[in-house]
Each structure stands twice: as C-alpha cells, then as structure tokens.
Amino acid sequence: MTTLTFFLLASLLLLAIGLAGLITRRTLVGMLISVELMLNGAGLSIVAAYKSTAASDVLGQLATLFVMGLAAAEATLVLAMILVVHRRFGKVTTKEISLLR
C-alpha cells in the first residue's frame, strides 16, 4: 500500500458515489450533480497518478485543468438542455421526456 493507492481509492469512491447517484436520481438536475462528482474523481486520480510517480507533473496538472474546463462547458450545455426540456415538457424527470419528436 502506497500513498498513491490511498488517493486512487478516494477517487474510486467518488466514481462509485457518482454512479449510484446517476442511477437513483430521477431528474436531470440530480443527474448533473452526480456527473460532476464523477468528473471530480477523474481529476483527482489524474493528479495523484502524475504527482506521486516519476511522470511529468506539468502534464498531470494541465490534464486536470482541461477536465475542469470540460466540466464547465458540460454544465453550461446541460443547463441549456434542462431549460429547453422544462419549457417543452414542463418537467425534467427522465420518465416524462421519452418522446423524441
């Protein structure tokens, strides 16, 4: 057991909690929260792997910065989609929005 293992297990916890939330949440907003949890776990695992081995520190930190930027872009788009779905269906539960046209 090294320190890297501890950090990787912590990010695995984030992934598992986010996946469980993605399954159990009914609304798109709750699912967005769970996805953010999983993205955080990904960033943490990248930084831990690059910082505590001989790999380049700069590459790891920049990769996590890119993950953060992608998460921000994704949250923006999902907010717009939630607005459209809410205007169209009046609800944002996943059961209601099964109509494609």
Partner: protein, 213 residues
C-alpha cells in the same frame, strides 16, 4: 476548583507531547509499509476523505436538491484539500474558482429555473428496486476497480509529491501543450454559443410558427 495557568499549561504540554510522541513511534513502527510522510499528512487525508464521503452521500441522498448542491460544494472542498496534499495549490485554487464558483452557480440556476426546490420531483424517495440498482452501481466499481488498484499497489516506485512553480504550467500551456489549450477555448466558445442558441430558441418571431403546427 480554579487552577492557575502555571499549573495547567505544563499539564497540557505533557499530554500533547505524549500524544505526539506516541503517534511518531506508531509511525516509526509502520515505516516499512508507509513512505516517509508525517502523520499529520495521513490525518489530513483521513479528514478530507470523511469530508468527501459526507458530501458525496449528501449530494446523492438528499431529497432537497439545494441541499444536494451544498453536499456537492462540500465534496469540492474535500477534493481541493486533496489537491493541497498532492502539493498542487494552483489546482486547489482552480477547483474552488471553477467548481464552487461557476459550476455550482450553474447548477443552482438549473434547480431554481425548474422549480425543483423542496416539493419538486425529487421530493419523495425512489422505489426499492431503484435503490437496489443504485446500491449495485455503488458496489460494482468498488468491487471491480478496487481490487485492481490494491493488487497493482507498489509495482511502480512512488515518490512524495513536490510542489512545482506555477510558471511551469503557463510555459507548458504555451509551448508543448498549445494545441489542447486552443482546443479547450474553442470547446468553451462552442458550448457557450450552443447554450445561448438553445436557451433563446423559443423566443422571437419563429415561436408562433412553431406553435401553430
């Protein structure tokens, strides 16, 4: 009974000193298994894991979505602490700035614009079957990836993280990794334009045309 400061202070000193020396000797006995980090680092790591766990379960179990978002903020703070432990304070700062400052505000807007506050669509618990699937989804990554992580522990040499100056990140962005840097700005621009287009599509002159069909 009132005790003087001169009496109390040496007692507190002795207690704290014995606790510190006990932890130090405990760490010395664990030396072959754990790398040469101070026990303070392990204590901070345990606290951050507890914060992450509390925030994570709060954000997937709270029926009120605003409380779930506060749990998400708690998790972000815990992960920022992890970044500090990994000797990358710039990332911890960016975590607070981007996630807590921007993403959480977006999620708050999403909650408020869909009126999902306390009596919204998440207000009652899901069925037992859905909770069972959720438990399965919680245990599946832990059961599949967790043993892999533990099995592969110690196969590559691990070093204690060392802080590198923030200027190196900027140099990397402008020299070796300039293509991802430009790509992420294009992605952000496209996402922003797409969001504006999606959000404003229902208004304006084409609205009446769409609704008359």
């Amino acid at each position: 009974m009132r005790m003087d400061k001169e009496v109390v202070n040496p007692i507190i000193d002795t207690i704290l000193g014995s606790i510190t020396s006990g932890l130090n000797s405990l760490q010395a006995s664990m030396e072959p298994y754990l790398p040469e980090l101070s026990w303070v680092a392990y204590l901070a790591f345990a606290i951050y894991v507890l914060i992450i766990l509390a925030g994570g379960f709060m954000s997937i179990l709270c029926r009120n979505l605003v409380r779930a978002m506060m749990g998400l903020v708690l998790t972000f703070l815990g992960v920022a602490g992890m970044y500090l432990l990994l000797a990358s304070p710039f990332l911890a700062f960016m975590q607070l700035l981007i996630y807590v400052g921007a993403v959480c505000v977006l999620i708050f807007f999403a909650i408020m614009l869909t009126r999902n506050v306390s009596d919204g669509e998440e207000a009652h618990w899901p069925t037992l079957g859905a909770l069972g699937y959720g438990l399965l989804a919680l245990l599946a990554p832990l059961g599949v990836i967790g043993p892999l992580i533990i099995m592969h522990a110690g196969k590559i040499p691990v070093q204690v993280p060392v802080e590198n100056p923030t200027g190196e990140l900027g140099e990397g962005l402008l020299s070796d990794y300039v293509l991802p840097f430009e790509l992420i700005s294009i992605i952000l621009l496209v996402a922003m334009a797409g969001a504006v287009y999606l959000a404003f599509r229902g208004f304006g002159p084409e609205k009446s045309k769409r609704h008359s069909k």
